[in-house]
Amino acid sequence: MIDIRSLSFAYYHGADVLADVSFSMELGQMISVLGPNGCGKTTLMKAILGFLPIARKTVFINKNPLENYSRTSLAKILAYVPQHHGSVFPYTVREMVLMGRTGARRWGGFSGEDNQKADEALELCQITSLADRSFLELSGGQKQLVVIARALAQNSPYILMDEPTSGLDLSNQVLVLKSMKKLHEENRLSFLMTTHHPEQAVYLGGQVLMMKDGSVAAWGAARQLTTSKTVEELYSLEPGLLSEMGLVPACLGRA
């Protein structure tokens, strides 16, 4: 269980990017974090992953404070799929996925178990056929699936994804979202995802955390809470503007 209790954070004595954020994530849950640019979505994710110097006893993982975890032990619980991938070298897809096993052992080659986990992850993400291709040559959607497979090979129960469909065309967005939904429903994997697309939160189901100015604006079941009205309020749009412009996706409620 990930438990966030009154989490606040500011960069270099600036204004609070996160202000008194609290929520919990159970094993097997799907949570989408929605909110306008600069509302603190990515900062929240980085705080949970231990990338930021947050106050003690504000983030608890399996009832233990985040600061009690070493990086290796944290990696066994949380996996991360970043918005942009850092590889500058043409690693093969298999090599990228095997990197998910770094926390398991640091020395020598890959064991039979490492290779087995990588094979399973490639299969779950349905990218076994890409195993020998260069990661740099793949489409955006395929790259996301590779990094999701790497997170699966890491064998961590929680996967945190920062805007996983950002910059992808429609077919690649569909590819990633369908894979996430399948992994969540069939393999009971837990996803915490930030997104700018309310319709994606509705499609994936589970819970939605709406954030505004660093605080939690609303929290509830994605399919009930994500309506054109709440979305307009969240993004400070005139009431009815989305409908007027014909921009309300069919899956959003109109209440």
């Binding site: 980085k46 992953l49 231990g50 990338f51 070493s70 990086r71 290796t72 944290l74 990696a75 066994k76 949380l78 996996a79 991360y80 970043p82 991938h85 850092g86 590889s87 500058v88 070298f89 043409p90 690693y91 093969t92 090599e95 990197m99 998910g100 096993r101 770094t102 926390g103 052992r105 640091r106 020395w107 020598g108 080659g109 890959f110 890491q154």
Partner: protein, 333 residues
């Protein structure tokens, strides 16, 4: 394929070591060397020629061959590590200012203190200062980190070269200046057991540790956040690898002076052949670098009557090799 390539390189390096043993001004064959050494070890009485062979092999050739292997492996391996952890395939110990900084430190040790342990420590401090200046300058321009690191390295190299020049200017023109100038050109002709005993163990430990660190270096090559999410304390790990790579480079500078390009070109060539996976790239770079310096040094000391500095020849050979690897890389993409 990759494991087979490492096996091939290991066998080639061993074969090259055996084949270059008899090469030099004094004509001798491998069986003669083996026979003389066996007799020497078993305590038999040696003939005058055997005595000469043992003396030549143990005091001149063996330390030189070992030094060539260690220097080549150090430069090439550390180049591969720098390229991966800085996520920049264009950096190398020479380009990052490590060699220039280590040379300055070593020059201070030679000119002022004339002490091997102190020269080694000062060389390491100089090497760390060299890479430290490059990184600090690169951080001032975060918009283009790759380019900034190259320019930072250029400035750092220029600065430490200037400081070394200052020491050359101040050095005694009769003895110290020619010695310093010749040493800076890169040469293995002055290798001694004394040097090897001081720096060899550090180089062997560093080379072994770096060669076996492929898994961690792979993760670091993805950037800090991804490396952290994969279970690494990336800042601590990165610093550790910078120090280790700089240590083995600085040790190589203590032995040979500046040998440029090996740390840039050899990892490029290896990456072209077996790909970027550091699990195999690191040991393969070390092995190919060792074989490259060993063979180049053998050519340098045996083809002409006068011995040319090794550094000049590695640069001449590496330049077209680097151009070829860039061209090949471009045509493959």
């Amino acid at each position: 394929m990759n494991k087979r390539f490492i096996g091939f390189l290991s066998v080639s390096l061993l074969l090259a070591l055996v084949l270059v043993m008899p090469v030099g001004r004094y004509p001798v064959t491998v069986p003669e060397i083996i026979k003389a050494l066996t007799a020497h070890i078993s305590g038999q009485t040696l003939s005058a020629r055997e005595d000469q062979i043992v003396l030549l092999f143990l005091t001149v050739r063996l330390p030189r061959l070992l030094a060539a292997v260690l220097v080549g492996a150090s430069l090439s391996l550390s180049g591969a590590v720098y390229q991966s952890i800085f996520r920049n395939p264009l950096v190398s110990p020479g380009i990052l200012g490590v060699l220039a900084g280590a040379s300055t430190g070593a020059a201070v040790g030679i000119v002022i203190f004339s002490s091997w342990p102190l020269t080694q420590v000062l060389s390491l401090i100089g090497g760390l200062a060299g890479v430290g200046v490059s990184l600090s300058l690169a951080k001032l321009y975060p918009k283009s980190p790759m380019l900034a690191l190259l320019v930072g390295g250029l400035v750092s190299t220029s600065f430490f070269t200037a400081v070394t020049s200052l020491f050359k200017y101040l050095a005694d023109t009769e003895n110290q200046l020619p010695e310093l100038t010749y040493w800076l050109m890169g040469t293995l002709s002055r290798t001694s057991w004394n040097q090897l005993l001081w720096v060899g163990p550090f180089m062997i430990l560093g080379i072994t540790y770096l060669s076996a660190s492929g898994r961690v270096v792979n993760a670091l090559s993805l950037g800090d956040e991804e490396a952290m999410s994969l279970g690494l304390n990336s800042r601590h790990e990165r610093l550790k690898f910078i120090c280790l790579a700089t240590l083995v480079c600085s040790c190589s500078v203590v032995i040979t002076g500046i040998i440029n390009w090996v740390g840039l070109v050899i990892p490029h060539v290896v990456r072209l052949i077996i790909g970027p996976n550091n699990l195999t790239l690191l040991p393969a770079s070390g092995l190919l670098g060792a074989a490259f310096v060993l063979l180049t040094d053998t050519v340098v000391r045996s083809v002409w009557t006068a011995e040319f500095p090794l550094g000049i020849f590695t640069s001449i050979i590496c330049l077209p090799l680097f151009a070829f690897s860039l061209w090949r890389d471009r045509t493959r993409r």
